[in-house]
Symmetry: C2
Subunit: 362 residues, 2 copies
């Protein structure tokens, strides 16, 4: 029986609990490094785990470049010894000031950020000049996701604007292709090549500048190129949705949620303590699968309760533990202030979800 | 112009930020007390705010009884000076042990909890006996929500089982009617009376024992009874969904989320920093309304980004601040480690969201 998720010491934890399986995380890091062949082409996004201990596992494995979405994540990376930190966000106003505080606090870290707008670039330049620092910036390109970024044909003007800024340095191009979610490798490659054709044209125009491309779904497409940095995030922990959608990717689930039965409602329903304050809830029900109870199906969700349908609820007792693989691990992790770490089949301490808070010290 | 939400000092905050409007919270507490007429009949649920400072506002207003869903919330209440704390959860295993630790740590607090199962009651009794404490328990009744609780006709046997426990004391009956969501007061009353008929019959049978009834939607129905404790939670902060659905309830929105424009995508789209890690996402899009931009409509959502559709995006600049009223405030609050407090039209400090963590000290 494949009960990889069981471990000694589980009963000492209260639920709901976030579990990190250390050897599986290590295996995922190794698999990602094999896919890019060269560590310098892997820039993992830390939003999935927000955990300094995992950052340290990654740096120990040879990864030096990281991507993040919040100032707190950038601070966590600096404090954990990451040499190169991209804030994949366009910082204006208060965020620009916070970023510059980090730049000064961690002088040995290469911080960089995105811009997609000339006015914002000019304001950032002024902040940098006032702070006496030079900042690397990446042009954020909209390749079809329509979330942030400048469309590629407007990028040359933006590049020129950045290059005219005294305190900004053009580091490269950044394009996130979150709209491409096909599971078929050939179709994925076709869509990605279409979306990135203008990016690579622009790179040529800008003297072969660096490119950061994609997230988890398109990671295999970009990993083979050999001339772009890849920035998947979910691979470190993997999750139910990616496992089902991308079975060809070499990653294994390395995080679960442990929950307890809190009530047996009737002959076909029981209730667990995995409410929507404890598991990502932006998607439809069911939001997870129970690895040790495959017949159990989520049928209701409230803040601290999850109602589950089973063929025979009399088999379940109050206090029974279930292991859940969430569809989406990233926003599930950020609901926990710590993860219980499983290593060698036993409970091996806990790691803080360092950057779940929106403000650490800066 | 009704710009109650604006305040001096907003620009000093980074976004996304949770805002608590102190005078509005005070007004909501006063309105709830007026509805029950007697403070002893109000037992607010703290899951909405998880905030010790709001607990202290409530105790200062004369409220002595509280309801909560997690051990961390129970600990927060004990530490904040709440005299009477109901854990509205059936504690088994690790949760029972944690609750008993609190019982011993705060000897002046009357802690109580729910049970809906004889085996669990017996186990709890054994834990209490071993700890040398007597615990008040409420029978959790399932009046149609089918989430937790025993159906009323099985409650007499459960009551007898509790009464035979040496270290448990039967405190009363608890019934949550979250399945009744009609906005029509007459229809609400009819449905509530139907659902609670067996509860009141059981109360008679059990010598007029105490009853805790309902949540926010049915609060007006139960508040008029004069002989049940009401346990609404959302009233303290109120939110967009309840404001639209229950316009007759006398509460005002007292919490907002402040967000910034981070990118202008095209002529009809812009992007803000209010991702689904920063606003409750268990419901459909749109998950909020912008009080200072009523024409803006959420059209996309990812972890740290919210894409918004407007008639003319050229009116928006990167860095512009928007004030959002989430549909559901409770799971939005728990995404923030602190709230910025607005009082007298200005920023007046910050309050920790004390019990957002799942474990404080116990």
């Amino acid at each position: 029986m494949d009960d990889w998720y069981r471990f000694d010491g589980a009963e000492t934890l209260d639920t709901p609990a976030l579990l990190f399986y250390k050897e599986r995380i290590a295996a995922n890091i190794a698999a990602a490094l094999r896919m890019v062949r060269e560590p310098a082409l892997l820039r993992p996004h830390v939003k999935t785990h927000k955990c300094a201990d995992i950052v340290r596992m990654m740096t120990a494995a040879g990864i030096s470049k990281f991507k993040c979405a919040t100032i707190a994540e950038a601070e966590m990376l600096g404090a954990a010894g990451a040499p190169d930190v991209l804030l994949a966000y366009q910082p204006a106003g208060s965020k620009a000031l916070r970023l510059l505080t980090l730049v000064r606090r961690f002088p040995d870290v290469r911080f960089s950020c995105l811009v997609d707008d000339t006015e914002t670039a000019a304001a950032l330049d002024a902040h940098c000049a006032a702070a006496g620092v030079t900042l690397d910036v990446w042009l954020d390109l909209n390749v079809g996701q329509n979330r942030t970024g400048v469309v590629p044909h407007r990028a040359p003007a933006l590049a020129a604007a950045v290059q005219s800024c005294r305190s900004l340095r053009l580091a490269g191009l950044h394009a996130y292709d979150g709209h491409i979610t096909t599971a078929d490798p050939v179709e994925c490659r076709r869509q990605v090549d279409d979306a990135f054709a203008p990016v690579f044209a622009l790179r040529k125009e800008l003297d072969g500048i660096a490119v950061i491309a994609g997230g988890s779904p398109t990671f295999p497409c970009h990993a083979g190129r050999g001339d772009v940095e890849c920035s998947p995030g979910t691979f470190a922990l993997w999750d139910g949705s990616y496992q089902r959608t991308y079975p060809d990717q070499p990653f294994v689930p390395a995080a679960l949620l442990m929950t307890s039965v809190v009530s047996v409602v009737n002959t076909s329903l029981f209730c667990t303590d995995l409410g929507h304050k404890s598991v990502a809830s932006e998607g439809p029900i069911p939001r997870l699968r129970f690895v040790n109870a495959p017949e159990a199906m989520q049928s209701g969700h409230s803040e601290e309760h999850m109602v589950v349908t089973v063929p025979d609820a009399s088999k379940y007792r109050i206090g029974d533990r279930l292991y859940a693989m969430p569809n989406h691990i990233c926003p599930s992790v950020s609901m926990y202030e710590r993860a219980a770490v499983v290593s060698g089949g036993r409970l091996a301490g806990e790691w803080p979800i360092t950057a779940r808070d929106k403000r650490l010290t800066v």
